[in-house]
Symmetry: C2
Subunit: 529 residues, 2 copies
């Protein structure tokens, strides 16, 4: 395999109040990107801030240590100047100058975001990773929480509030065992600060999308508790009753023991409750059934400003299409074969529309699966259908729901053989997805075998749909023997999917009429008319 050429690399540091994190992206602008490294340090820059309004000596030292670590890494790996995004702890600290002065000599582009800018960056991450035009976005970090409104995929308005999880815990939750009074005081504080805005959230009925380490960690604990079959946060709907139940469990435990709850990180355990109570209050006041989780946030917002520098508003044209293309770009591919399988599967899907009645949602799933069906070849030819599914489920597919993500993976898994089954994912799929999977897999599999020689020999298709049988006519220059032979073996899944026998015929490029020629297919596999 050849190394990737012409790709850029950028290192972005998110200097939060709770933790610092360096992420490194490799990318070709406007084409594809991938995360290649990440170093997280729990620096607690905001520790003690609630009381003093200043960065403590220890916090400054830990912050400098982390930045030395990152610049050391950057110089060793030839990353060049790091982009550092600092948020509320630095922004609000009375002694911010003292900290910033110590950074002279570090090879950094150090940006302190205003509260509104921080909200904008988060909103940008949502606009580029959810299939949503209008929503509320909440980003709760260590020091502050931003709440903003996305309109037609643009940041409309939003600001930062002093509601970060470290700050809330320090300010309100002083007892080892949190008391009812402490909870009431915290809740009253939240309502006073953003109650009006939460009223607006309740009235307009839009989804709330949340980001940041607190909600990610809470979600992880909820997923563990319910044995969620995917190891995936982005795009998950955290239901309010699940959050309520988790908060109850956190309240029952003394701070030091909260990491006993499976999924809760040890270094967040003593402070996470402050953030969890803010979220509970938000969901109650806005009367929301749940909150959607974003795995992307301010860091990704900063990255998109580089990656999509040439685009108005730094916005991807189509989030789902980009997700598919970005995953596709990770693996070496026969592009022409993939395009032809896409074309043929779509054609089959459309020709059989009278039999399935599916629309745009299914067409999109099929197209994504057709694009990604062969990526498992990068692992091994043997079982490459299974490897494709593994790679898809191990990758990110922002813009698709988890159900859709799973269906795309399962479609690739069954693109060559096997009886399509929902398996372990049943719980997150819909009741009729069983049939949907079988039908779409049948379309994809036929397309794959009609493109068996990987040379685009079958130019087009025609179909006659009868009461008991469907005849597919293959339009090709030459007699497509391999394709007829292999596609004819798929009569079983076709019958299961569409309740009809499948007959294949070879036609010529001049359509219809006497030039058509019925070709033999392997005995016993396909019923002849």
């Amino acid at each position: 395999m050849q190394p990737v050429v012409n790709a850029h690399r950028i290192g972005i540091v998110d200097m939060g109040s709770g933790s610092a994190r360096l992420v490194v992206y490799e990318y070709v602008r406007d084409a594809w990107f991938r995360l290649t490294d990440e170093i997280r340090e729990g620096v607690r820059l905001g520790e003690g801030f609630a009381a003093s309004g200043k960065l403590s000596e220890g916090a400054i030292e830990r912050g400098l240590d982390a930045l030395k670590l990152y610049t050391d890494y950057a110089s060793a790996t030839g990353l060049g100047k790091l982009l550092v995004i600092a948020t509320s702890a630095v922004r609000e600290a009375a002694n911010r100058r003292a900290f910033l002065d110590k950074l002279n000599g570090f090879n950094l582009e150090f940006i302190v975001l205003s509260g509104e800018e921080e909200a904008q960056y988060g909103a940008l991450a949502v606009a580029n990773s959810f299939s949503v035009s209008d929503a509320w976005v909440m980003d709760l970090g260590g020091g502050s929480a931003q709440l903003s409104r996305l309109e037609a995929r643009r940041f409309a308005y939003g600001e930062a509030y002093p509601l970060g999880y470290v700050r809330m815990s320090e300010q309100f939750l002083r007892h080892t065992r949190t008391t009812d009074g402490e909870v009431r005081d915290l809740e009253r504080f939240v309502r006073t600060l953003i109650g009006q805005r939460l009223g607006a959230v309740r009235r307009d009925g839009l989804p709330l999308i949340a980001m940041g380490g607190t909600i990610r960690n809470l979600t992880k604990a909820v997923q563990k508790a319910e044995n969620y079959p995917l190891d995936m946060l982005h795009g998950y709907l955290l239901k309010r009753d699940r959050l309520e139940a988790l908060v109850e469990r956190l309240l029952e435990l003394p701070a030091a023991e909260r990491s006993r709850i499976s999924g809760i990180h040890a270094d967040r355990a003593d402070a996470i409750l402050g953030g969890a109570l803010v979220y509970r209050t938000v969901l109650r006041e806005a009367d929301l059934p749940g909150v959607w989780i974003s795995g992307q946030g301010v860091r990704e917002g900063a990255f998109y400003r580089q990656f999509l520098a040439a685009r108005t508003g730094f916005l991807l044209g189509d989030v789902r299409a980009f997700s598919v293309q970005n995953l596709f770009a990770h693996y070496p591919q026969e592009r022409a074969h993939t395009e032809h399988v896409k074309f043929l599967s779509k054609r089959i899907f459309n020709l059989l529309e009278p039999l399935h009645g599916y629309g745009q949602p299914e067409a999109q799933l099929l197209e994504a699966a057709a694009t990604l069906h062969d990526i498992g070849m990068a692992v091994n030819y043997f079982d490459h259908h299974k490897h494709s599914a593994y790679l898809i489920l191990s990758g990110q597919m922002p813009g698709f729901t988890h159900r859709e993500h799973v269906l795309i993976a399962l479609l690739t898994q069954y693109h060559r053989k096997g009886d399509p089954k929902l398996g372990a994912y049943k719980t997150i799929l819909e009741a009729d997805d069983d049939l949907r999977l079988t039908r779409l897999a049948a379309c994809l599999r036929l397309a794959e075998y009609l493109e068996r020689s990987r040379a685009g020999r079958v130019k087009d298709l025609e179909a006659d749909i009868g009461h008991d049988a469907v005849t597919l006519r293959l339009i090709a220059d030459l007699e497509p023997r391999v394709e007829l032979w292999e596609a004819a073996k798929q009569s079983e899944i076709f019958k299961k999917a569409f309740g009809r026998e499948l007959t294949l015929e070879a036609g010529t490029l001049r359509r219809g009429g006497a030039q058509d020629k019925r070709l033999s297919t392997p005995a016993g596999k396909t019923k002849r008319k």
Copy 2:
């Protein structure tokens, strides 16, 4: 990702008596290869051969159909001339000419192997895919079975016998339910034909390595029955008692129902018993405890003659080393980082030798794991340690035992974090592999974090091994901050592996003495001396 350039492609067809198979390899001569496509057709070229000594009309037609299919595929995909290897059915057929004449106009290089050549090709596959110098090799196909002797990795002698599974079944097993008399006749035939040779096998006590569809299929059924935790045939030891038990089950069922046994292919079910009885007789007569399975055979032998054309005897220099390099070559890599992790892990392993006492076998496992530890980055940075293990277990590692293959995968899985566990693979590992895994993982993990900046900053290491603690001194030009910081977090696994505390120090390139400087490490993670 860039497509692979400068790679050759070759299509090889194995025209066996039972089935025909086209395999396509992509390769750079003497460097790496991968299988990229495979089309199998159950042509039964040898059907009816036992009675007539001729290829039947139907067999000829099916053979021609398959070859048309393959040449069609080859021309569509730009593969060029296919290399066709024909074996016993064509070799022995009285009407061979009639068949070969019909191939005029096909773009083929058609080679009919003699019995000895067929045995040579099989032996070559074994020599390049097992860590063995001397062995017996048996290749049982549809028409014939080859038995040969490998000496110092070379084919010493061997020939073909009319013991193929299709032939045996047609000749002896004529009843739907096989009778005791039929079994006795078949066994007597085998003993008469190769009894003397099997006596030699018994006397010299060398392993028997078997290849071909029959033994692969029998093995698959045995693995299913015992819930074998790996989906891997090559390198598996099929024990005699397991084979005996499977043969008993086959004998109990009428021919048409044998595919009810999980793992037995439907299109082999009616004829597989003939081959199974030959193997049973061989193991009994040679008094062997079992037979090693080769997933490679004549096709691979033919391929190695191309791939290793420049090498004496078409032999790889080192089978294991090649397996590792071949898998490594599949994925984009930072070669310098990998080399440095290999170097450091080996150094740590050697420095700690007084504590573990391991030798060459463990050093080899560690080196393989160090080479492959990051291949999972090709999937996703997140969880790339798990992806590395997945890719290794999804790939082939000829020359390593299954136990070794699994240990290498597990070492990569634990190269960053987690408490090393044998998990589902316990049954194929040894009793003390638990500790072995933890110790080797500790070496690899330390090396990985001592190379955290991926820039080769830690040039070398020194160790002081004390009663309670081990001090590792990092020799570097510059203070390797990232490396010290990250490696120091690994004290927990180190303690578990070696029963001692870990202390890290930075030294300079001038060793020892006053220039050494103890660096701080993250609080609470490493005990200071």
